[in-house]
Amino acid sequence: MKSGDQGALAELYDRYSSVVYAVALRILGDAGAAEDVLQEVFLQLWRNPAAFDAARGSLGAWLAVISRNRAIDFLRRRRPETDIEDVVLSVAPDLAGDADRSRAAEKVRGVLGAMPSLQRSALEMAYFEGLSHSEIASKTGEPLGTIKTRIRAGLMTLRKAFQT
């Protein structure tokens, strides 16, 4: 790769590293491990920038999701389960600026806070703890079908809040 690309990577790092790091830190709760995930996410972007499809979704959202996936792999001590090329998002906000992100984060937290608590915890257990629906069901003692419905309803509530 040419030196110009390294400069571009540094610019992208300056713009998005805090998002990538914050996601990994929330999931792993350990600064060293979160730093490893941060390093891996940007190295993957550098090695394979074409994996990001600019026509679908924003780079900030894509990097945040890649960071979440790698942090969960790390947490569960497993090899990466998805190729970065396989992560395709529909258009989601970019939120490169700290002020925009703080506002959006506040809005998401507001939406999560207004959700029924069982719905919120099912969503968070799946997304931030990487638990499968059967693991959530056995942890909460609820039927599988209920867990499925809660996770979908939670995501739909978030979608609606950002559509208006």
Binding site: E35, G97, Y127
Partner: protein, 264 residues
């Protein structure tokens, strides 16, 4: 996704990687042939991105940036970097050429290696966590000392910054690698646009008409990114320019040109 309601809940679980077993295989089989469900999955992943983007925390330590750039520089000096790939989901077919006896011996070696590797990995994890806590504490102490010193130092110069009268100017930076057709474009302070309009980036070649190089809309902060839009191979760029176009984009630029810059 009408007519596919039976997959609705499973798609949401799949988007957060919480679906497993037979249900996962059934859904993957369906996704291979159903464009509507695939679109819904992408939309759901976009929804999950909101959860990821909502996390806030401290900025990464300064040393992380240097570590990344050092790693990139060292990889750049090697011949050809090999992209990291995820583990193949099903390796059983590729193993079929192993003889039975060879397989049993190999399996025994793998089991032994995995158990050693796991133990080694766990020990390394513990060690790394301890040293990470120690270095964090040291960094915190150093930071506190440096703040106290700056506040109390009699030689410290003080500056008060106030808002500039003129609004910040729009700025775009394009980095283009011709032989790879790779383009990274970052923009700041871009004025917002009406809902039906988009900015369009144009590559102005040495000869011939401008070539569309991506549509973008700035976020509320005025920032935008265009990464690797589809471009004809090997085109030499004289300059890049930006116009305002309808949402679907245009094949020739609509005047006036809003911003333009030649290669440095």
């Amino acid at each position: 996704m009408s007519g596919h309601e039976q997959f609705a809940d499973d798609l949401a679980l799949y988007a957060v990687d919480a679906l497993e077993g037979q249900e996962r295989s059934n859904l993957e089989q369906h996704l291979a042939t159903c464009a509507a469900c695939k679109r819904e999955l992408e939309q759901l992943r976009g929804d999950t991105a909101l959860l990821a983007l909502s996390t806030l925390g401290p900025k990464p330590p300064q040393r992380a940036r240097k570590r990344l750039l050092d790693a990139v520089a060292s990889e750049a000096s090697r011949i050809s970097p090999v992209p990291l790939r995820a583990a193949p989901k099903d390796e059983s077919r590729s193993r079929s050429w192993w003889g039975w006896l060879g397989w049993a011996a190999t399996a025994a070696v793998i089991v032994f290696a995995v158990s050693l590797g796991k133990e080694n990995y766990e020990l390394k994890q513990d060690l790394r966590m301890a040293s990470s806590i120690l270095s964090q504490r040291t960094a915190d102490l150093e930071q506190a000392r440096s703040v106290a010193n700056a506040l109390t130092n009699p030689e410290g110069q003080h500056f008060t910054l106030v808002a500039m009268k003129t609004p910040p100017q729009p700025q775009g930076k394009a980095i283009y690698v011709r032989n790879r057709s790779s383009l990274i474009f970052l923009a700041n302070n871009m004025p917002s646009l009406p809902s039906q309009k988009m900015y369009e980036l144009w590559l102005i070649p040495m000869q011939g008409a401008p070539v569309p190089a991506g549509l973008f809309k700035p976020d509320a902060h005025g920032s935008a990114t265009v990464i690797n839009p589809p471009l004809p191979a090997g085109l030499e760029a004289k300059a890049f320019a930006i116009t305002v176009e309808n949402e679907a984009g245009a094949s020739t630029p609509t005047m006036p040109i809003m911003m333009m810059g030649a290669g440095e």
